[in-house]
């Protein structure tokens, strides 16, 4: 497996919606490459005959009764929002000028 490059980190940060400055990229990409090299060891023992475990205590089909119950009011939900208007979350526009 290849080590993570500075360009890889920049692309991944964009996918994760985290703006990184040049200094951030310098600092984080070196650290991340070292971490990736250290964790790559998992592939050494993960042979085909070993099943994967996604959840520590196996459970399936957990249901609860399908009943109407009290929930948060619209005002409560919007109270923590950075901006709200007419009972809705207000956000900047989706598309930029060039789109």
């Amino acid at each position: 497996m290849s080590t993570l490059s500075r360009a890889d980190v920049a692309r991944l940060a964009a996918l994760a919606r985290i703006d990184l400055s040049d200094e951030d990229l310098d600092r984080l990409s070196g650290q991340l490459a070292a971490i990736v090299d250290a964790v790559a060891a998992v592939a050494e023992v993960a042979t085909d005959d070993v099943p994967a475990t996604s959840h520590p205590i196996p459970m399936s089909n957990v249901h609860r009764a399908d009943e109407v119950r009290a929930s948060l009011t619209q005002d409560q939900v919007l109270a923590g929002a950075p901006q709200a208007e007419e009972g809705r979350f207000r956000v900047p526009r989706i598309l930029g000028e060039e789109a």
């Binding site: 991944l12 993960a46 520590p56 950075p82 956000v91």
Partner: protein, 506 residues
Amino acid sequence: MTDWTRASALEMADAMRAGTVTSVELVQAHLARIEAVDGVDTPSHIHAFLHVDAQGALETAAAVDADRAAGVELPLLAGVPIAVKDLVVTQGIPTTAGSRILEGWVPPYDATLTTKLKAQRMPILGKTNMDEFAMGSSTEYSGYGATHNPWDLTRIPGGSGGGSAAAISAWEAPLAIGSDTGGSIRQPASVTGTVGVKPTYGGVSRYGAVALASSLDQLGPCGRTVADTAALHEVIGGHDPMDATSLDEPVPACLAAVRDGQENGLAGVRVGVIKELTGEGFQEGVRLRFTQSLDALRATGAEIVEVSCPSFEYALAAYYLILTSEASSNLAKFDSVRFGMRQERDTIEKTMLATRAEGFGDEVKRRIILGTYALSAGYYDAYYGSAQKVRTLVQRDFAAAFAQADVLVSPTTPTTPFPLGERVDDPLAMYLNDIATIPVNLAGIPAMSLPAGVAPEDGLPVGFQIIAPAHEDARLYRVGGALEKALMQSWGGPLMSQAPELEVAK
């Protein structure tokens, strides 16, 4: 005059029932202690609390006192104050999970755990400091500044739950709530000379706990004694239909198990020492206190055997892949739309990019980026898929070990607390703090850390870890109760009585 902050939680509960102290007096004593040692303007500046809710705690206490005076029957811990880690949501009380991105957010609802504390009538003193979104082992990654270890103010209090552990170690609260994803309850307990338990996965509801890694996270109790921790475990445990991963089974009889261990010893109990978690890489004083604890267990009747868990070599790597993958998904909700910070730009995408750049600290950024990588096309099988296979191997190692022993043991941490700043820019060195605690989370099984003494070379606390099979949380308390009693006899009192007195504000 009695200094009630030095009493155990169960002593406080007894004293209230006997009428020798009121809940208001207990809350006032702890608020005074917080004022004397916690703030930036105090000489000690423990900084265990991010928010103190004096008014709310006093109101709860006054109502408990009034009901007690009126002869109303009250729960066991009614009126005993508690501190809550800042990732458990509390209606009307700010909750930040240690992150600037949630600064000032006031949750509109209570976590199930908060509801249980309120039903038990426990005054909530405030919210405790933590590494941002529980990512860290020292609280140095908190968005609000580090917590200081009451045993040595220049050293780390552990993490991510360093605030909760420091609060009880500095006599600011008798009990606290923690969360343990890779050791965030046990490692802080170890380095502050206190007790902490990670219950079986699903044993305590996570409804209303800010999620880090959903297949690993577990809330649990922190205290200064095994019995206090057991009492709190019984308050917060139990099935919750609001959490689909909650175990539908009775709350373990933790307190009865402590009494059993204290009174009857451990005759017939097989204790397995995990070979891979001793010896090389563990500080000399840690090894010494661990070996002495094994002798103490033997003296109470336990049989000591050695077990081997060869896959643990890969546990740390698997843990960081699973954790970061799940965290990168869980933290996508901090998008500047519904709650928390917003750095406004001309489009929503640029707003999200700027908000997350500004609101998250370096460690959170590192982990989100690593998780995004591990889950991306072409790498998923090699990283996340392989890590899930290692998880199976770790579970098999535990299953084989538990065929030879009733509980497994190790030192909780390889070293005593290290100086603040020493590892903050070296993520891999920081991760090594949790080498002994991480396998437990991968397997979903319960574990406890309790004090094993202080290391002779530096006078700082050493933790002893006890691990039990899934659903057998009570075994931790039986063995922990017996070991604590034996060690306290050898010390002539609790380990906390050896902690240095903090300088207090006048």
